[in-house]
Symmetry: C2
Subunit: 210 residues, 2 copies
DNA sequence: TCGCTATACTGCAGACTGCAGTATCTGTTG
DNA sequence: CAACAGATACTGCAGTCTGCAGTATAGCGA
């Protein structure tokens, strides 16, 4: 039985406390979803695998007729998590449909691209609002695990900056595209600024970020 | 037959010119891989689906005994791509194992987290080098489709900034974690700076980025 | 002619998603 | 107190996508 990164993410959650799968799929994933999203469906399957592998143990309780399964980490589970933390992480993966739409924008209308950029900007703003609300609840002392807030702040910093980057990029791109006379931007003189700046990366100074 | 975003990415590629699947899987994906990565295996399957749906047409040629299948977009394919470009994009998805490792760092040693951060930083630097080389080849007039360089520059700007963000975040996080006396950073006073800054997002001014 | 690398795929197992469906419990409102 | 909404707690299924291993041919240099 090989374990996936998802297995270890789940073990990490279980290392904090025991959870029912429902909690795992709803509340808890609130933090992980921003940098390690998993579908609810998958969690129900994956946690069973962890139990089968002896890394978690399940306990079934009943509320009337309705059963609830909760899972706790085992010593073997803690060991596996500890070992995983010593291995190097996979490179971050980015999947941004809006960039693909920009890349192939010449097959559509300019207004289609502008509309996509605006949606991306709004999504980024909305996510930042969610993150700000989370941060505010921490400030208000409503965080579920205050002793873990330093670890949470590390990823919070990244995720917030990531969505801010999207927002700023979308604003910049829309402003540039709006000046184009052709859908493929063949008349755009800003292209050389970007390409020259990117080519400089790693050779001493780098240019500004959008 | 429902089409996935991958289908449209492939159609976008075919809208530029015809390709063999091998080319699609190797050269071409060079650009898409940074913001819309797909496994080689999947492309072979997906392009067949496009042909079955009448959105692309295949042509088989032979080099001696070895067959090569190349694909061209059909009018129906161009139509489908055009329609797709009018729909709103899915939100960008981020999957960063290194953030999960930071989030659960208290189950391992502090040095494990520092090592993970360093790997992430190096990966980000390496990717920026690749992107810089691509940009340099564009400056050298070696870009395969110079008339599309404006569209390419849009995503290039984002992808470069994304990897620069990872690099800077990893440097910042490593410097902070190095000062911690506990693996969970419970003694870290930097946590309030992050949380307060993130909570301010959207309420007028935002703080600095790492 | 040998061996290396590039070309050009296929099969298979398993990871993961999204949606629909089932059933129970709890709190609110009329 | 009955009706209903919303939360809890899942399962089934079809399909997407990945990663690895395996197969086979072509072209090139030593």
């Amino acid at each position: 039985m090989t374990l996936s990164p998802t297995s270890f993410a789940l073990l990490g959650l279980l290392s904090v406390r025991s959870w029912t799968t429902y909690e795992l799929a709803n509340q808890t994933t609130r933090s992980l979803q921003y940098f390690f999203p998993r579908a609810e469906r998958h969690l129900y399957a994956e946690i069973k695998r962890l139990a089968d592998a002896g890394l978690a143990k399940s306990e079934t309780t009943f509320t009337g007729k309705r059963r609830t399964t909760s899972y706790a980490i085992t010593p073997a589970g803690r060991k596996a998590l500890r070992v995983w933390l010593r291995t190097p992480p996979a490179p971050p993966a980015l999947e941004a449909e809006v960039l693909a739409r920009a890349f192939f924008a010449d097959s559509g209308r300019q207004q289609d691209l502008l509309a996509s950029l605006d949606v991306a900007r709004e999504q980024a703003v909305a996510t930042q609002r969610d993150l700000a609300a989370m941060a505010q609840s921490t400030l208000d002392g409503e965080a579920p695990f205050p002793e873990r807030s330093s670890l949470g702040a590390l990823s919070l910093r990244f995720v917030t900056d990531f969505h801010r980057l999207i927002e700023r990029w979308a604003i910049w791109a829309a402003a540039e595209v709006a000046t184009w006379e052709h859908t493929d931007g063949r008349d755009w003189d800003g292209v050389s600024a970007v390409v020259e700046d990117v080519a400089r990366v790693g050779h001493g100074r780098s240019g500004r970020t959008v």
